[in-house]
Symmetry: C2
Subunit: 341 residues, 2 copies
């Protein structure tokens, strides 16, 4: 439980990872009221130094005593670490904002996108889950549509960047791309198949129903965040040879009929969304342009060719920012706003 | 109109292009009964030499007299060339198999995928259209499903390789990829935006309804080939940084309920299709594995999570082969089989 303070003691768990580094820079860029920043990681990464507000911070090894005196802990070190250490952090009086999938579907754990369901935060949250990157950007675009027209069905295909698999995957795409261009054999470590100049319809592990865990995250998390278990979602999640930002082709069926113009207006008025939609002028959302920015960019908004109650759009966002670090920091901002008011 | 012969005089128009070269190699590999092969191209490419059956063939400039004595002309030199020269070729007594979009939707012009609608060829075809690459591979997978369960609706997102835009685009992806890896500025000639490590939701030009021509090709050509104007199709076509083969995430709603097992069986028995579908063993269709092969590879076949009459699958094929050159040569084979029987 968070108490009102001028500035807060913040810990980042998994601080040396692709998301952890973005958490540090996002706290800095958004002038989050940090009293002290503690960077935590595994034994392997402990001792490294990171930059925060022009100072060097030594990364400490995560252990059971790491959370003494910490007010807010941002976790991004994988599900197993979150399962083990989030309760310890809570026990130490810390509020946990967790970027892993460990707690997201747990009853009583709020799963929050601040623009979408801030009220789900509850009165005294202990662990707050940050949704999966591919879910966040889609649900931001779906929310105003759902509120106005009631969404019944979504068919989504993703084009997800390798940074979602961490630093090693960024390296793998780089190295494999060079190898292919030079006509040399490729090395595979992170992905089971070549990712350079290829598309893998495989993110996370596969389940008995034929869907991947990533696909089921999009189904279950979207329903939980929108608070509507009746929404039907048919996802295909695909890894593409892009470094940063996920793109998604989204088809939406609603209860009420709608027009593309209405949807454009709704989306352009929604916080955190930028509509880039002038295809005739070659303007539409692009992964390389969304990278490094916090926005959810939507375009190619067009009515279904047959149905009055269906549309298609293309949504792009930086998976490490709005899909992870930025959303986590925004949750922290929501928290401190709550205790301040 | 084709007359029965032992061997046929064949011309390839656009012989130096990405598809034209595959037409030559496909004729060779499939032992098409070629009496003589004439390679035709624009003034710019005339004089170049190409290899065919171990011999050098000089590329001649396309003109009004190019088709004298030719039995079958395979066109792949763009819509304008086809519009102008296909009627001249027909006038010379030649049957034209055209890979451009110029004639596809013309009434009376058969649009043929030999496994799917051979009977649409008609009695005395003059110009026969080869469908768009993204349509061919989808329609091969849809055909047995439509026959058994009647398709009502398709939502498709494509992951299309740059070779669909020709040799220059292959070069552009290579050069831009190197530039990005080396931290140098990129050059854009073929695409309006960076294609290296990026996804462009833009193929062909955009129309007033917000869809691209490529998307409308998938709609209109699929209906014409399946002979059913009632099928609703919602497409998003996307260029991805892949050299060869298109991938597609396809969602299908049918009139009759179905199971994933039934669809797997149906597809595995359909000519030209290979089912690769053991995701737990990391086996699913991949662009880099489909490249250079004629098959349409289908996998990730799974029931919709909510509906009994909906499934998802992932279909991959080499866009220059089944999506273009191979399908054209298969149409020629169908033609000579007809006149021989």
């Amino acid at each position: 439980m968070l108490n009102k303070k001028e500035n807060y003691e913040v810990a980042v768990v998994g601080a040396t990872g692709a998301v952890g580094r973005r958490m540090l820079s996002t706290l800095e860029e958004r002038n989050f009221p940090v009293a002290g920043l503690t960077a935590l990681a595994s034994a392997r990464s402990a001792g490294q130094t990171l930059r925060y507000q022009g100072r060097s911070i030594e990364v400490r090894q995560l252990n059971e005593n790491s959370f003494k005196g910490i007010d807010i802990a941002l976790f991004s070190a994988g599900g197993a670490v979150s399962r083990q250490y989030a309760p310890i952090a809570v026990e130490s009086g810390c509020v946990v904002i967790d970027n892993s999938s460990a707690w997201r579907m747990e009853k009583g754990v709020p799963l929050i996108v601040p623009e979408v369901n801030p009220d789900a935060l509850g009165d005294k949250p202990e662990i707050i889950a940050n949704p999966n990157c591919s879910t966040v950007q889609m649900v931001v675009a779906l929310k105003p549509i759902h509120d106005r027209y009631r969404i019944r069905r979504v068919v989504v295909s993703t084009y997800q960047s390798v940074s979602g698999s961490g630093q090693k995957a960024i390296k793998e795409l780089e190295q494999q791309s060079r190898a292919v261009l030079d006509g040399k054999p490729i090395e595979k470590k992170v992905y089971p198949h070549q990712i350079a100049f290829n598309c893998l319809p495989h993110i996370d592990v596969f389940l008995d129903n034929g869907y991947s865990k990533e696909e089921m995250k999009m189904v279950n998390e979207t329903r939980k965040i929108l608070g509507d278990e009746s929404i039907e979602i048919s996802p295909t999640t695909v890894r593409v040879p892009v470094f940063y930002s996920h793109s998604e082709a989204v088809y939406v069926e609603t209860e009420q009929p709608m027009t593309a113009e209405e949807i454009k207006k709704l989306l352009s008025e929604f916080p955190g969304v930028r509509v880039v939609d002038a295809p005739g002028k070659n303007e539409y959302p692009l992964a390389v342009e969304a990278a490094g920015k916090g926005e959810v960019v939507v375009g190619r908004i067009r009515k279904d060719l047959a149905r009055e109650n269906a549309i298609n759009f293309w949504v792009v966002s930086d998976n490490l920012l709005k899909g992870a670090a930025l959303n986590a920091v925004q949750i922290a901002e929501l928290l401190i706003k709550r205790v301040s008011s």
